[in-house]
Amino acid sequence: MLAVTPAQKTPHEKQFLRLSLWAAGLLSITTGLWFATSTAAEIDPSIWPTSWLTRAQTASELQIKVFHEPPFLQQQVKNGELPPVMDRLPLDPMVLEPTTTNGTYGGTARIFESDWNMFNPVENPLTIDPTVAHIFPNTIKEWEISNEGRTITFKLRTGIKWSNGEPLDADDFIFFHRHQILNPELTPVPDPRWIGSKSEKIDDLTFRYHFNEPFPLLINLMAQLGDYYVTPSDYMRQFHPDFVNREALIKKIRQEGYISWMAYYNAIRLWTRNQPPLMPTLRPFQLIKRTATHKLYDRNAYYAKIDSLGQQLPYIDQISAEIIENQDVLAAKAATGQVDFAAFELKTQDFPLFKLGEKTAGIQVLVWNRLHGSDVIIEPNLNIKDKLLRAVFNDIRFRKALSVAINRDEMNSIIYFNKGVPRQPTVIPTSRFFEPEFASAYTQYDPTQAGTWLNEMNLIDRDEDGFRDYANGDKLTITLEFLDFETPKNITLELVTSYWREVGLDIRLKEVDPALQTSRATAGLMQMTVWHADRTTDILFPFQPMWYVPMHIGWEESHWNDWATYYLSQGLRGEKPPADIIQLQTWWHELARSTDPERVTELGKKILRSTAENLWTIGMIGLAPQPVIVSKRLKNVTLQGYWGWDNRWTMPYHPATWYLEK
């Protein structure tokens, strides 16, 4: 049973309030840090509407009585194809305050397909604040963590609807849990935390999960990845054998050309480019058409939020998203003002080109702050099969040498116009887990020191070819495979290898395809690879500290798969890690299950300190500037924001409030 009004309070409810406060309010601590550390990466929150920094207010709280019908929909409403706005909006819709003024309706925004998640961001059950520290309610109004985090109860807002008019209710969450994540066909290997979990529907809007082990981080998950945890059940039933005749279904799927019902289900359920038109969504815009070159979106007639004038959001009526494979063409199009918004595939090095566009093509180039703790992190494979190389990688002196051999300041000026921050992979300065030395460890440029360390390791150029060799005379050559994706990896690595060549290390670069990155990384076949250190905020760091703890296997990291497997399989497979690694894993194991904020912070810092001391991965430049291109006619885009996976890029900055000026 749940508290509806704060009036009568049972002890149980007190706990609920406290815990929800915990879930939402971790930042009471972090808030202090804002003023403690100040770096280039930090944004003064006063540039955002104050209402953004608290949980969204609702129409009733702001005494908004009348809601306005977007002109785009009026005809349909007249024809009776669509219920009037009053009936489409929830009982008490959330109100979003634009950065400048309430906008005007209309227009088609031109964007790149790669920016579809940024222009049309997810509507998660919970959401994240602009400073990427708080978790706020969204479609879920209240939540309760009880039973040391083993039981979590959620309560939805009343009257929120999917874009097809179906209500968003508890069934949609239950459906996801029972028929998707616990379906052996669909999810052969579920996330261990879900194994044995139960879900329970309390009423249409209230539901509850029970876990074998505490899972308080589900809250963070619901905020960051929440759209994955809810399914438009009324729609998806027709593709699920639990609800329709299997034979008939498979027959239908085969005709569609899909190999199995799971393939089809995943293809349309996940946020892939194949989501079929008119698939129900909660986002501001609804995909209606796809061509070989474009995706077309219309405004979601049932979008649940309004502006302070009672106008249903979004302001913009349609999106035309062009699919572009080639990043150079993309940059060119962006710079020549052929889109209204572009960001995701834009590279820092191209700033001059974009700035040129400000003059010639009338675009506006905003500089947002990337959340990456380091744009590129080197991952020496500590579990590599090659004995000699393994010994070298596992020798801390080698990793230190690699780090100090890099001239980060020069790199910063060459690639980042001196606007980045030389640092090791670690959380952002505003995080409650942050300590300055985590970022600064071994970031000084000291090739001689590097040389000394390498000599100590008896790695010396024995055949006078200018490169160091193993003690036994074998050549020491390392192949670094990488995927040039999201951050400027290619140029960074060219630079890095040249620094390492200067200290006598022969590193060979090989760019690989996403598919190859995955298969080779997950199989631990890469001698060395790189990724970008995201998951650097209070939202995701506690949930996936993958750079700092062997607790995950994916295409992002390939530096200790066997140790990670060992942990994930509870010691059944993989390889038993050394003591210090075991220590890391136990720390995280506790952190992930703890409901005590202080303890969480303490453990988090232990983990981060270990990386700073051991350089499990090596960082370059972090907190870099992210170009965000906005056309002259697109208004209300905040001038600055944090850019990254941790906050789903634009989610906290409410693209639904953007509008096109006539």
Binding site: D328, V329, A331, A332, A335, Q349, D350, F351, P352, L353, K355, L356, E410, S413, I414, F417, N418, T477, T479, E481, I491, E494, L495, T497, S498, R501, R508, L509, K510, E511, V512, Q527
Partner: protein, 368 residues
């Protein structure tokens, strides 16, 4: 009685040469190519810098211009360049370089500069063109890491040009051997080979390259990659030549002198090498000359797709791959200079090939 007394004492070789000499363009091209290949052979000497040496003071720096007159107008015989002063424009984020007349970098020829390993044989310091220590010279400007474009072009020439040459030799061996066999033996062998060629030619070449070069193991040394690329390129190019050779063989097989040779009991091999091959050497040489540019272009295409050679190896393809985007044209056009060299060399080879063809057999050699 002879109509043209002049012709009598002309050996075919001399005649060919006479005809060739008439192609002024072909002659010039030949000269140009020899020149370029010399540079490629002695690239360590001609390049002022080692290809991967970076000048941190000059990122994306434009070409320096030669001066004979100092700012104050004094003439001096030794040409010199001015150093850069860099300013990152806070408005445009553009690196703006201006000549710093205070720092004069005189240019020295045939004098000591950066140390280098000539063909990994011996160490030397002398360069064709260089500047004093601590000073720098970037005739064609620098790239995103401050590497000297000119030096990279010179080093790239060695890779790209040798690749073309070796590749063609390989192609010839394959083409002549297989085509020759098909044509000479005929019958079932011929049929089989015909099919194979047909198949290879009906698969779009690019995907063929892609798949093959994607199969090159990642950990191979740059040299290994270099050779595997060559093999891949020739593996696809030989079919064309093979078809031609086969055709010629079929025709020649029935020629009297071949039959005569056979009657005299000459061995197959002898017949082929002594009688058949020479009879269309000229044609083969021409085809080869015309195939080299194809190779060079193919290499650039592969590098463009990221499946060709890769850093730290420097080939013209690799250089162009870094230059193939909008930004370059708008902001740093000098990165396209390697393209000019590719174009020149390819044209030169074509002209030379035409010249050779017309000279060798003015009537034949026109097939597609």
């Amino acid at each position: 009685m002879s109509d043209h007394p002049l012709y009598e004492d002309l050996s075919t070789r001399r005649l060919t040469w006479l005809r060739f000499k008439r192609h002024k363009l072909a002659l010039m091209s030949g000269g140009f190519l020899i020149f370029i290949y010399l540079i490629a052979i002695f690239c360590e000497f001609f390049a002022p810098y080692e290809p991967n040496w970076r000048n941190p003071k000059a990122i994306f720096a434009p070409p320096q211009e030669f001066h004979f007159f100092e700012a104050n107008g004094n003439f001096q015989f030794r040409p010199f360049v001015y150093g850069y002063t860099l300013r990152i424009n806070p408005e445009t984020w553009v690196r703006e370089y201006t000549e710093d007349t205070s720092q004069k970098h005189p240019i020295y020829f045939f004098s000591k500069g950066q140390k280098y390993q000539f063909w990994n044989l011996f160490t030397a310091r002398h360069h064709f063109i260089t500047t004093a220590k601590g000073q720098y010279l970037h005739i064609f400007g620098t790239d995103k890491l401050g590497r000297d474009i000119f030096s990279r072009i010179v080093y790239g020439a060695r890779i790209s040009l040798s690749l073309g040459l070796i590749g063609v030799v390989l192609t010839l061996v394959l083409g002549v051997l297989i085509g020759g066999l098909a044509g000479y033996l005929g019958g079932r062998t011929d049929n089989l080979i015909q099919r194979l060629i047909e198949v290879l030619q009906s698969i779009p070449t690019l995907p063929l390259w892609m798949a093959l070069s994607a199969a090159v193991p990642v950990h191979w040394s740059p040299l290994g990659v270099y050779f595997s690329i060559i093999v891949i390129l020739s593996f696809i190019q030989w079919t064309g030549l093979a078809r031609v050779v086969r055709g010629r063989f079929l025709a020649l097989r029935e020629e009297d002198f071949v039959i005569a040779a056979r009657l005299l009991g000459a061995s197959q091999l002898r017949i082929i090498t002594r009688h058949l091959l020479p009879s269309f050497m000229s044609h083969i040489i021409t085809t080869a000359t015309l195939a080299i540019p194809g190779m060079i272009l193919a290499e650039t295409a592969l590098s463009f797709l990221g499946v060709g050679l890769r850093a730290p190896v420097v080939s013209w393809g690799v250089l162009l791959q870094q230059a193939q985007n909008f930004q370059v044209i708008v902001l740093t056009p000098w990165l396209l200079i390697p393209g000019i060299f590719v174009i020149l060399v390819v044209i030169a080879f074509n002209l030379l090939g035409d010249g050779l063809r017309d000279a060798a057999d003015p009537y034949g050699g026109h097939q597609l």
